[in-house]
Amino acid sequence: MTTPPPPQHVPQHVPSQQAPPQQAPGQQPFPPQAPPQVPGQRQQEWQGQAPAGGSSLPMVRTHLGHALVSEWTKIRTVRSTVWTLALTVLLTVGIGLIFAAALSTDDYVGMPLLAGGFFGLMFGQLCVISLGVLVITSEYGTGMIRTTLTASPRRSRVLVAKALVFFALSFTVTLASTGLTALIHSSMLSDQTVPAYEYDNPDMEGSIENGEIVATTGHWVDATLGASLYVALLGLLALAVGTLLRHSAGAISTMLGVVLVPLIAALFMAGESLRDLRDALIEYSPLNGLASMFRIPMVGEPGSGWTMLGLLAGVTAAATIAALARLTTTDV
């Protein structure tokens, strides 16, 4: 198993090759290693217990970069990633395409040009949420988390790497889906003539040019970049919830509750006395935030999508801090 030491291997400690020769106790116990690219020059810094054999493997001080590469390997080598992300694309683009095909006439469809992308993404986001949960809970479910945390005792580094890799991947996939959907909608629905009574509709502000429906640059950014950020952040929140609950089904149910329950609860709140509560529930429900990005809010201003995004980012940050605290302080 262990190969004999290469000829240039120096078994003794050579201070000139090492940065700090000796450190006070309590400081970092191991000095940084010589350039890891040179196998054989590695110094065995193991309390004088260097074996006769020695190893030609590089001894590097690990950092976040290692964890990022590792998490990327992890996320691309399980089928749940492929399934959930493929379904995200399929639902978002597929429903968007069906929607556009069904409404593709010269008649006015009653909403801004890119708004139809919302309906597909509403379903697609559920897949992103599931993946966000599974990225961490599958490790708890299988016991892989113990292997991972043994290999990387800096637990926060593992979670940060997971979060970054997942966020980047889900954002990229969602952006591709929403971008494609927006292109489909602008090419298939841009011939509509807007009736005069809609000219004063605040929701249609900026959408009408010379009586025809158009999408401004701002609309494009909202419906692609903004919506994708929103969904990727929801996924990140799901990852944090998964870390807190350590259970796939529990975490996915919780996230579905967060996304859907405010709207469903508001549906059944009849009567004047509950009106304020009902409106607040609808306005701050995650689905309304996403709808605002597409300029079809159920309650509130059409441009309120980015405010809702900021709110979601705050909630996600708080949940992630709680998740970090739980991961680093409790036994696994």
């Binding site: 116990p29 074996p51 054999g53 992890k74 080598t77 399980v78 016991g143 292997t147």
Partner: protein, 371 residues
């Protein structure tokens, strides 16, 4: 070197590990022995920083695990063969672990070869047998070519060839100057593999000694005596005579007697004096497994009992089996006591009965108590 100092772990009111002090030396295979639930895995998890000790500490080479700058390059561990994502291939599983500590991908192929999984490297590990899973776990432990290796029950599920391979691997790793710490609940396995033993029961240290010393101290001999079948009176008489001569007698289920404390010639003389014929008088050695079970008797959490079958069947015939203490007035056949037989525990062993286990039958059984 692994060093535990006052290591304690409590879960609520239950103490899993209590005040463990031991050192695991490099260049040896150290066996970590104890019954199920004795706290072996908990101790291993604390060594690896997965569980935080309630009290005390454990260090590797003088450092706590989480302080190590690149843990897998210094410490390799097999905790649980199932601690992997079944949907990932063997190679991808090892690759993500290698990348976590900057180990090049070629090392992954090396360890796959070492454990003999090269042919199934690209298969999803979900379909692996328990033995293949163990091999994959061992491969993960070897990835960083570490100086310290921990294996929790590594031979579970392996076939005889695999067991021999693991045994040789551990011996080789130790001969290279590495620290090898292997847990097991099988004494026989450890007797063949380990140089040193650390025995725990109910979370407490029971023995910390070289395997050779354990064998010498615990393989005390006994004599097996068989009286003619059906001669109950003669047997009673012999038991009484042996007890009076200072011997300890255990009636075995087959009707034979297991005698310690009396030399073979003396047994023959006693039988002759009592006018009892003997069909068998043979010298025996207690197995290490028995010695180990004696040591941990008071510390077994999960003990099976005979299935009484709630009167569904005719009650089984009372099997005579019990201790005859030297002072005992007659051959009282009673259930075997706990911790009353054989050689005293090694002098440097911890007291075998932890405080929270005091409800366990600790004192040797005396026939008077049964009345």
């Amino acid at each position: 070197m692994i060093e535990a100092t006052g290591l304690t772990k409590s879960y609520g009111s239950k103490t899993a590990v209590y005040n463990l002090n031991f050192r695991v030396q490099p260049g040896k295979v150290t066996g970590f022995l104890g019954p199920n639930g004795a706290g072996k895995s908990t101790t291993m998890r604390m060594i690896l920083g997965l569980d935080a000790p309630t009290n005390g500490s454990v260090t590797i080479g003088g450092h706590q695990y989480h302080q190590l700058p690149n843990a897998p390059r210094l410490v390799g561990a097999l905790l649980d063969a199932n601690a992997k994502h079944g949907g990932r291939s063997a190679r991808a599983h090892l690759l993500c672990l290698a990348q976590l500590s900057g180990i090049p991908a070629r090392r992954v192929d090396e360890v796959l070869d070492v454990v003999g999984l090269t042919q199934v490297a690209r298969k999803r590990s979900k379909g692996f047998s328990l033995g293949m899973g163990q091999r994959l776990g061992i491969a993960a432990a070897l990835l960083g070519d570490p100086q310290v290796l921990l294996f929790d029950e590594p031979v579970n599920g392996l076939d005889p060839e695999g067991i021999r391979w693991v045994r040789e691997l551990m011996r080789r790793l130790a001969s290279e100057g590495r620290t090898v710490f292997v847990s097991s609940h099988l004494m026989s396995e450890m007797a063949q593999t380990a140089d040193h033993l650390i025995v725990i029961g109910r979370g407490q240290l029971m023995a910390d000694l070289p395997v050779r010393a354990f064998i010498e101290q615990n393989s005390t001999g006994f004599a097996r005596v068989r009286t003619p079948d059906g001669d109950e009176a003669g047997r009673e008489k012999l038991v009484r005579a042996l007890a009076e001569a200072g011997g300890q007698v255990l009636a075995e289920p087959e009707g034979t007697l297991k005698v310690t404390g009396v030399e073979l010639p003396r047994i023959s003389e006693l039988a002759h004096a009592a006018d009892v014929r003997l069909w068998e008088l043979s010298p025996h050695h207690a197995s290490l497994e028995e010695a180990y079970m004696r040591m941990t008797q008071g510390a077994v959490d999960y003990r099976s009992s005979d299935d009484q079958r709630s009167g569904l069947q005719a009650p089984p015939q009372q099997v005579p089996g019990g201790w005859q203490q030297p002072a005992g007035p007659q051959g009282g056949y009673a259930p075997p006591p706990l911790g009353g037989y054989g050689a005293p525990p090694p002098a440097h062993a911890a007291p075998p009965h932890p405080p929270h286990a005091s409800h366990q039958a600790a004192a040797p059984y005396r026939p008077e108590d049964a009345r």
